[in-house]
C-alpha cells in the first residue's frame, strides 16, 4: 500500500516545483537528441552536463543517497524529484547510465572505498559513465560474453570488444563484465569498473546508426590494465552483480524512451496529424487516420495509468506484472507513434532532415528508425516477452 507523503516530503515537493519554475534552462539554439544515450556533439553534452550539475546542487539528484557518498540523505525524495522534473518538462539528466545503472550497482556491491570514490561523480554528472556489457557475439544472450580478464599481480589484464556503448566518447568510466573463467558460463564472469578516457589500450570508435547519425560507439580493449581495487563483487560473481545493473536498466530504458512521467509522445503526433493532408483532406478528418491515432492515444494514456496502478498493490495481481511491462510498452509505443507520423507524411515523409522541405524537419522517419534502438537495447522486445511469460505468468523457460 502506498505511503502518504510525510510533511518533509510534501515540503520537498513544493520546493522542487518552485525551484524548477524559477530555474528552467533556456532552450538551446541547437537540437537536443531524443534521449541522453544519443548525445552526439560536444555542445549537447556540455549543455546537458551543466544542467545535471545544477539539478544536483539544487538537491534534485542523489536525493536518497547517503551524504557520505555525495548524496543528500533524503529517503523517498528521488521519485518526487523525478516526477517534478518530468512535470516541468525539464531537459533530461545526461549521466543516465551512472544514475540508473552504475550507481545502484556500486551502492549494493561496492566496497566502502569504491562508494566514496565513485558515487559523488555519478550524481553530480562530473564523471560520465558508459556500459560495457554487449559484444558482437553476446547480445540477448549476455552471459556468453567473451571479453577476457586475466589476473597479473595486483592488476587484471583485459582484452575484448564491447558494442553499443552510448556516451562512450565522453565517458570517464565504464561498467564492464569480462570472463575470468571458461569453465562455467555464468560463474565465469567478473564485474569491473574500467577506466575509459586517456587509458592505454582503450579505443573508442563511433558506430554510425542506420539514420546516419552518430550516438553510440564500440570500445576495443587491448591489454587494458585494471587494478584489482576496481573489481566490483567477488571473482566469478559478475553475473549476480550484472543482474542488479540489468534490473535498474529497464527503468533507465523506460526513462530514456519517454513514457510514464515524461512527455506524452502522442501530443506531437496529434499536432502533426492536424498539419498533414491525406488524399486531399486534412489527415485529422480522415477516418482511418483518426482510428489509428486514437488507438495510440488510448495506449499512451493507459501506460500512464499503469504507472499509477502499479503504486496500488491491491490492484496488481503480481508485484512485477506492471513494472516488467513498462520498457516493452514504452519502446513499442514510441515506435508505433513514429511510424504513424512517418506514414502520414506521405511522399514527403521520405525527405531527410538535410532537405529543407521535409515535414517537421524529417523528424518522423528519422525517429521511426531511431525507435529500434529502444526496442532492441536493454533486452529486446522478444526477450522482454520471455521475461514476462516466465517471471510473471510462470511458463516454462525458453532457454
Amino acid at each position: 500500500m502506498e505511503q502518504a507523503l510525510s510533511p518533509e516530503q510534501i515540503e520537498f515537493q513544493h520546493y522542487a516545483r518552485r525551484w524548477l519554475a524559477e530555474n528552467m534552462p533556456k532552450a538551446p539554439d541547437f537540437e537536443l537528441p531524443s534521449s541522453p544515450i544519443e548525445v552526439a556533439t560536444l555542445e549537447q553534452k556540455d549543455y546537458l552536463q551543466s544542467w545535471q550539475r545544477r539539478c544536483y546542487e539544487a538537491r534534485l539528484v542523489g536525493c536518497s543517497y547517503p551524504t557520505a557518498y555525495g548524496g543528500w540523505g533524503m529517503p523517498g525524495c528521488q521519485s518526487i524529484a523525478n516526477r517534478e522534473l518530468a512535470r516541468a518538462r525539464a531537459p533530461f539528466l545526461l549521466n543516465l547510465i551512472a544514475l540508473n545503472m552504475a550507481a545502484p550497482t556500486i551502492l549494493k556491491h561496492g566496497s566502502e572505498e569504491q562508494k566514496r570514490r565513485f558515487l559523488p561523480g555519478c550524481l553530480s554528472g562530473d564523471e560520465i559513465w558508459c556500459q560495457g556489457f554487449s559484444e558482437p557475439g553476446a547480445g540477448s544472450d549476455l552471459a556468453s560474453a567473451q571479453t577476457s580478464c586475466e589476473r597479473q599481480g595486483d592488476d587484471w589484464v583485459v582484452n575484448g570488444h564491447k558494442l553499443w556503448t552510448s556516451l562512450g566518447h565522453y565517458a570517464s568510466w565504464m561498467i564492464l563484465i569480462a570472463r575470468s573463467s571458461r569453465d562455467d558460463k555464468y560463474r565465469g564472469l567478473t564485474y569491473f569498473i574500467c577506466p575509459v578516457a586517456n587509458t592505454p589500450g582503450v579505443t573508442v570508435r563511433p558506430l554510425i546508426k542506420m539514420t546516419g547519425a552518430r550516438g553510440f560507439n564500440e570500445i576495443l580493449l587491448e591489454d587494458v590494465r585494471i587494478p584489482d581495487t576496481l573489481r566490483l563483487g567477488a571473482v566469478g560473481e559478475g553475473w549476480t552483480v550484472a543482474m542488479t545493473t540489468l534490473t535498474h536498466e529497464r527503468g533507465a530504458a523506460e526513462g530514456a524512451g519517454g513514457g510514464s512521467g515524461t512527455t506524452d509522445p502522442t501530443e506531437r503526433l496529434i499536432a502533426h496529424v492536424r498539419r498533414m493532408q491525406r488524399d486531399g483532406m486534412s489527415a485529422a478528418e480522415d477516418p482511418v487516420t483518426r482510428d489509428q491515432l486514437m488507438k495510440l492515444v488510448i495506449r499512451s494514456r493507459g501506460m500512464q495509468l499503469n504507472a499509477r496502478r502499479a503504486r496500488v498493490a491491491e490492484l496488481c495481481d503480481h508485484p512485477l506484472r506492471l513494472p516488467l511491462q513498462s520498457k516493452l510498452l514504452t519502446s513499442e509505443l514510441l515506435q508505433d507513434v513514429a511510424r504513424l507520423g512517418a506514414e502520414l507524411s506521405g511522399g514527403l515523409g521520405q525527405l531527410a532532415p538535410l532537405d529543407g522541405s521535409a515535414p517537421d524537419g524529417g523528424y518522423w522517419s528519422r525517429e521511426y528508425m531511431n525507435s529500434f534502438g529502444f526496442t532492441i537495447a536493454a533486452g529486446t522486445s522478444e526477450i522482454q516477452r520471455n521475461i514476462l511469460g516466465e517471471r510473471v505468468l510462470g511458463l516454462e523457460k525458453s532457454k
Binding site: 502506498e2 502518504a4 515537493q13 513544493h14 516545483r17 496529434i270 496529424v273 492536424r274 483532406m281 486534412s282 485529422a284 478528418e285 480522415d286 477516418p287 483518426r290 482510428d291 491515432l293 486514437m294 488507438k295 492515444v297 488510448i298 495506449r299 494514456r301 493507459g302 501506460m303 495509468l305 499503469n306 499509477r308 496502478r309 503504486r311 496500488v312 491491491e314 490492484l315 495481481d317 506484472r321 506492471l322 511491462q325 516493452l328 510498452l329 522478444e382 516477452r385 520471455n386 514476462l388 511469460g389 516466465e390 510473471v392 505468468l393 510462470g394 511458463l395 516454462e396 523457460k397 525458453s398
Partner: protein, 393 residues
C-alpha cells in the same frame, strides 16, 4: 499550492479498504456459489440449450443471496435507501462477476440504477428505492440496427389523460427474462423520455433473441398500446437524452469491468493449460509461439484494467469529464477481450474448439460484451470527434 493530480482519491483511484473488502467478499461468494461446475450445470447442458433451444438457466437462490449482500444497492444513492458506493467499488464487484461469468440480473440492474440516479426526479427516486428493496430492471433503449445512438429508440410515448401510452419496439434488452421491469426510452413530440414498464403490463410482449452467449439472455420488447401511470415517466421529455448521456460513462464502465474480469479468467485458464499440456516433450508454454501471445494478451488486459479504474474514479470525482476515460476504457477492454478470447481458444488447441471445454462460455460472453454499447471502433470514433473535431467524408 494545489496538487490536484496527487490527491488521495485519484492517486489510488479511490480504491480503499472498503472496496478491497467488497471485492474479497464477492470473490469468496462467487467461488462458493457460482463456480465453473455450477455454471456448466446451469447453462452448459447441450441437449437443453442447443438441441431444444431452451433459455439458459440462472441460479435464483444465489441471486437472492446477492440481494442480501446488497450488491444491487451499490449504485443506489443513500438517500434512496441504497449504499451509494463509489463507482470504483462497482467496478471491482463487476470484475469479479465477469471473472465468474455469473448469470444474474445484477448488471442490468446496476446499469438501470446508474441511469435513474442521473434523473434527480421523485419518480426516478421512487424506483431507486424499489431497486434498493430488490426489484430488478433492465435498459430498453436500443434500435433494430444494433448501433448505439442514445436517441435511436423506436418506441413512442403519448400522453392520454392521466396515463402515458407506449408503442413500438425496444431492442437489445439485456437479461430481459430475469428482470422485473424495463427502463424504456421513448420519443415524444418534445423529445426523449424514460419510462418504467413492469413485466406483465398489458400490451407488452418480451420476445426472446437467440444469442450465442449462454451466460445471459437478451430480448426485445414489443409495446402495443401499453398504458402506464404518469408517474412511471421517470425522466420527462427533453431530459431523456441528457440523462442517458450523463449516465453513459457509468454504463460503459460496468461493461468494461465485466470484460476485464472475464478476460483475466481466460488468461489464467489458458496459462494454466500451457503449463501442463505437453507436446514435443515440453509444456507448450515453453514455446515462444505460445508464450508471446499470452504475454501480449496480458498487456492488453492490464492497459484495459488501468483505464477501467481511471474511468470509475473519474465518475466519482469529476463526473463532467468522465466520458472520455469511459470510452477509452470500453475501447481498451473490448479490444483486449477480443485478443484474449482468440488466444484462449487457439492455444487450447483441439479441445478449445469443443463444447466440452469451458473456454467457449467466456469467449461468447466476451464477444457479446465487446460489441455491447459500442466496440473499440465505435468508441474511438466518438473520441476522435471529441479530440479532433468532425470527420471528413
Amino acid at each position: 499550492m494545489p496538487f490536484e493530480e496527487s490527491g488521495p482519491d485519484t492517486e489510488r483511484f479511490g480504491y480503499g479498504a472498503e472496496e478491497a473488502l467488497l471485492r474479497q467478499q464477492a470473490r469468496k461468494f462467487l467461488d462458493e456459489h457460482a463456480g465453473l461446475a455450477t455454471l456448466r450445470r446451469l447453462v452448459g447442458d447441450h441437449e437443453a440449450v442447443y438441441e431444444r433451444g431452451e433459455l439458459p438457466a440462472y441460479d435464483a437462490e444465489a441471486w437472492r443471496k446477492c440481494v442480501e449482500l446488497g450488491w444491487p444497492l451499490l449504485a443506489v444513492p443513500e438517500s434512496c435507501g441504497g449504499l451509494g458506493a463509489r463507482m470504483v467499488a462497482v467496478a471491482a464487484l463487476v470484475e469479479e462477476v465477469g471473472r465468474h461469468a455469473f448469470p444474474s440480473p445484477l448488471i442490468a440492474t446496476l446499469m438501470s440504477s446508474l441511469v435513474l440516479r442521473q434523473a434527480h426526479s421523485p419518480e426516478a427516486n421512487r424506483w431507486l428505492g424499489r431497486i434498493a428493496e430488490g426489484t430488478t430492471l433492465a435498459l430498453a433503449i436500443g434500435d433494430r440496427s444494433g448501433g448505439w445512438d442514445l436517441d435511436a429508440s423506436e418506441v413512442r410515448a403519448a400522453r392520454r389523460g392521466a396515463e402515458v401510452v407506449l408503442d413500438g419496439t425496444a431492442y437489445a434488452v439485456q437479461d430481459a427474462f430475469k428482470v422485473d421491469g424495463f427502463l424504456v426510452a421513448a420519443h415524444t413530440d418534445e423529445g426523449l423520455c424514460l419510462v418504467v414498464v413492469e413485466r406483465g403490463a398489458r400490451g407488452l410482449e418480451v420476445v426472446r433473441d437467440h444469442i450465442f452467449d449462454l451466460t445471459r439472455d437478451q430480448g426485445h420488447l414489443t409495446l402495443s398500446g401499453v398504458r402506464v401511470a404518469k408517474d412511471a415517466v421517470v425522466v420527462a421529455p427533453r431530459s431523456g437524452l441528457h440523462v442517458l448521456e450523463r449516465a453513459w460513462p457509468g454504463v460503459l464502465t460496468v461493461v468494461s469491468a465485466d470484460l476485464v474480469g472475464a478476460s483475466e479468467w481466460q488468461l489464467q485458464t489458458t496459462v494454466e493449460y500451457a503449463k501442463v499440456r505437453k507436446q514435443f516433450d515440453r509444456t507448450i508454454g515453453f514455446f515462444q509461439a505460445v508464450k508471446h501471445p499470452l504475454v501480449d494478451a496480458m498487456i492488453e488486459i492490464d492497459l484495459a484494467r488501468s483505464h477501467l479504474y481511471d474511468a470509475a474514479c473519474c465518475i466519482d470525482v469529476d463526473p463532467a469529464h468522465a466520458e472520455q476515460p469511459a470510452r477509452m476504457a470500453k475501447a481498451a477492454a473490448s479490444d483486449a477481450a477480443r485478443v484474449m478470447s482468440k488466444h484462449s481458444v487457439q492455444l487450447h488447441g483441439g479441445i478449445g474448439f469443443t463444447w466440452e471445454c469451458d473456454v467457449h462460455l467466456f469467449f461468447k460472453r466476451n464477444q457479446h460484451n465487446a460489441a455491447l454499447y459500442g466496440d473499440g471502433v465505435h468508441q474511438r470514433r466518438k473520441l476522435a470527434a471529441a479530440i479532433l473535431g468532425p470527420a471528413g467524408n
